[in-house]
């Protein structure tokens, strides 16, 4: 296995950091040694911290000319052997979508953080969760990657490490779908002495783009190792030879790229349950909104009202079977989101009970009182 124990770069113990800074520290802890980015609110502070911290370790920081160049250079660095990351917000995430498709097709590990704000376009620099579907369907071709949703500064640190491990484990881009509020939030976080990191597997001479199984992850060599690598975004066989008019090769590659993620969704998907054992009504939520929801649910519980919460730590692959099972045990599911309705559509696909949506897209967090009011009406 390619799991190993690594020593924390940041001294173990408690630290008081902003979310954007925690992303930088999580990346360094996970082994990120290449960063390329372009300034954008609300994640510029991550890039600023990386640019300073990388001077203390052997690592490469480049401020690129745009987000298209940022993702491209991260992919180039990843093939040169680096764990690479870029951090952006919605408009930059859109510019990266073609490169993300290339990373999926070439099975290149790369971590992309999207500090979401209220869009479309420049919109406001305040909070939003409008890029959830962009993380699933933004790139051309429709093959899934992995998207995570953190709700705290601690989780921006932990999930950044998790994002690198998943990217290396499955040779896929991983999106950390942060939000402006958590990026700019300051909280105390705990950094352990040791952490688990996954380094990409190497098997000299083995085909780098194919496996026997139809859901396998091939080993990944790097440039300069004498493997005479053929990396291409065109349809290719297990050795990277272009197969641009072979329907069998196209179908085989598409199937494996899809199965490699969807076939391992049980291992990838992570959720957190609160008060669901006896809940009448379940709130399905993610990111900062889960903080407001939990605050509201705690209040209702104190009054003896049976509300619970399922927090999605993984957005993609979607926690469909968990939602299906949960929906069979509650009367109603409530889905509050800082967009005009994205995850709610997925929840409806898997739910056997009524699903109620609440959508707010005004650049502000959904206040706990708002959720409280909505839940009182539904209970």
């Amino acid at each position: 296995m390619a799991w190993k124990k690594a020593k924390s770069v940041l001294p173990a113990g408690d630290h008081y950091l902003s979310g954007a800074e925690a992303i930088a520290e999580g990346a360094i802890a996970a082994g990120c040694r290449y960063y390329a980015g372009y300034p954008i609110t609300p994640t510029t502070e991550t890039m600023e911290r990386i640019s300073t911290r990388f001077k203390e370790i052997e690592a490469v920081f480049v401020q690129m000319e745009d987000e298209i160049g940022s993702i491209a250079s991260c992919i180039g660095a990843s093939w040169a052997g680096a764990k690479a990351m870029t951090v952006t917000s919605g408009p930059g995430f859109s510019l990266m979508q073609e490169g993300i498709g290339y990373a999926i097709m070439t099975e290149t590990p790369v971590v992309i953080v999207d500090g979401q704000r209220a869009g479309p376009s420049t919109g406001q620099i305040f909070v939003g969760s409008g890029d959830v579907m962009q993380a699933r369907w933004g790139t051309h071709g429709g093959i899934p990657a992995i998207a995570l949703s953190p709700w705290s500064v601690q989780e921006l640190y932990d999930q950044t490490i998790n994002a690198f491990n998943l990217a290396e484990r499955y040779r896929v881009p991983v999106f950390l779908m942060a939000e402006a509020t958590t990026a700019h939030l300051r909280e105390r976080i705990h950094v352990p002495q040791q952490l688990d990191v996954f380094d990409r597997e190497k098997r000299p001479g083995a085909p780098p783009f194919g496996t026997e199984e139809d859901d396998g992850v091939p080993p990944m060599p790097a440039f300069g190792e004498g493997e005479k690598l053929l990396v291409t975004g065109s349809t290719h066989d297990a050795h990277g030879i272009r197969k641009t008019s072979d329907p069998v090769a196209q179908q085989r590659l598409s199937t494996r790229l899809y199965n490699k993620i969807m076939g391992h969704s049980a291992e990838i998907v992570d959720c957190e349950s609160h008060y669901l054992e006896d809940a009448d009504i379940a709130v399905v939520c993610y990111g900062f909104t889960a903080r407001s929801a939990l605050f509201a649910i705690d209040r209702l519980r104190a009054e003896g009202l049976r509300a619970g919460m399922l927090r999605l730590k993984t957005l993609w692959p979607f926690a469909g079977s968990i939602v299906r099972e949960m929906s069979s045990r509650v009367r109603k599911v409530f889905v509050p989101e800082m967009n005009m309705g994205q995850v709610v559509e997925e929840v409806m696909k898997y739910s056997s009970c009524d699903v109620v949506r609440y959508n707010q897209m005004n650049g502000q967090i959904i206040h706990p009182d708002t959720i409280l009011e909505q839940l009182r009406r539904l209970l």
Binding site: A36, A72, A80, G99, Y102, F223, G226, L229, G240
Partner: protein, 255 residues
């Protein structure tokens, strides 16, 4: 170049895809000749290309590490690989549409940063792979599938552009100027910093056909007749130089 050198550097089993008369076939051989003459171990090299006919020069044909990237982004991909592993002798080979139109921003910024890359731009003065449309290097007045009345715009002078952006080595030669072009590629590979070569590479199939250059020979003559060395161009007025292809070195190893 001997046949042996060519075979040693070509990936077993590949056949070259270029049209009859395409300048890219000649350029492929000249690049390999330069590498052979410098006695570089091709396993120490990384070849990065974008999308288009010229991007197929290294991928899949060169028996080395090759990165065949997105349209326009080859230099940005190469930047990441080179900066993370400076030991990789990194060469970008792509076309004019790829490097100068869709990828123009990456080209000038990599030159400004003086990243240690050798960039070879095969300039065929149109989009060849998509069937012959106008691009930023098409001569004014030339016919393409998207300029039926002639290209109304002036072309980029790529060498002046990239030199102004800070490249330490800049040169332009026709692919028929074998020895000077090979020497230029060797110099570029030995340059520490950003080196750019515009290799003018005739496209008889698309550019030639639309401009009534009915044979590959006519197409090559069209370019050769317009060629003038940098030395001969000294002192000529802009009017006299209009439509000329000035060859030679425009920046030579000094930053």
């Amino acid at each position: 170049m001997t046949a042996a050198v060519s075979k040693e550097f070509l990936r077993p089993g590949v056949t070259l895809p270029f049209c009859p008369g395409c300048g890219d076939r000649a350029l492929l051989k000249l690049i390999l000749r330069a590498i052979a003459e410098l006695e570089i171990n091709i396993d120490d090299m990384l070849f990065v290309s974008g999308i288009g006919c010229a991007a197929w020069i290294p991928s899949p044909h060169f028996n080395a590490d090759t990165l065949h990237t997105l349209h326009g982004r080859a230099i940005a991909f190469a930047t990441g690989a080179k900066m993370f592993n400076p030991k990789l002798i990194t060469m970008v080979i792509s076309g004019d549409g790829d490097l100068a139109d869709i990828g123009g921003n990456h080209l000038i910024h990599a030159a400004r940063r003086n990243i240690d890359l050798t960039v070879i731009c095969a300039n065929n003065m149109n989009y060849g792979m998509t069937g012959g449309q106008v691009c930023s290097t098409t001569p004014q007045g030339a016919l393409t599938h998207t300029t039926r009345d002639g290209n109304p715009y002036r072309p980029f002078d790529l060498c002046r552009l990239v030199a102004a952006a800070g490249a330490v080595y800049v040169a332009r030669y026709l692919v028929t100027q074998g020895d000077p072009l090979v020497n230029s590629i060797k110099k570029a590979l030995q340059t520490l910093g950003f080196a750019f070569i515009e290799a003018v590479s005739p496209c008889p199939t698309q550019f030639g056909r639309q401009n009534r250059l009915d044979t590959p020979r006519d197409t090559f003559r069209f370019y050769e007749d317009r060629c003038i060395s940098r030395e001969d161009a000294e002192g000529m007025s802009p009017t006299e130089l209009a439509g000329k292809i000035v060859t030679g070195e425009f920046s030579n190893g000094r930053s």
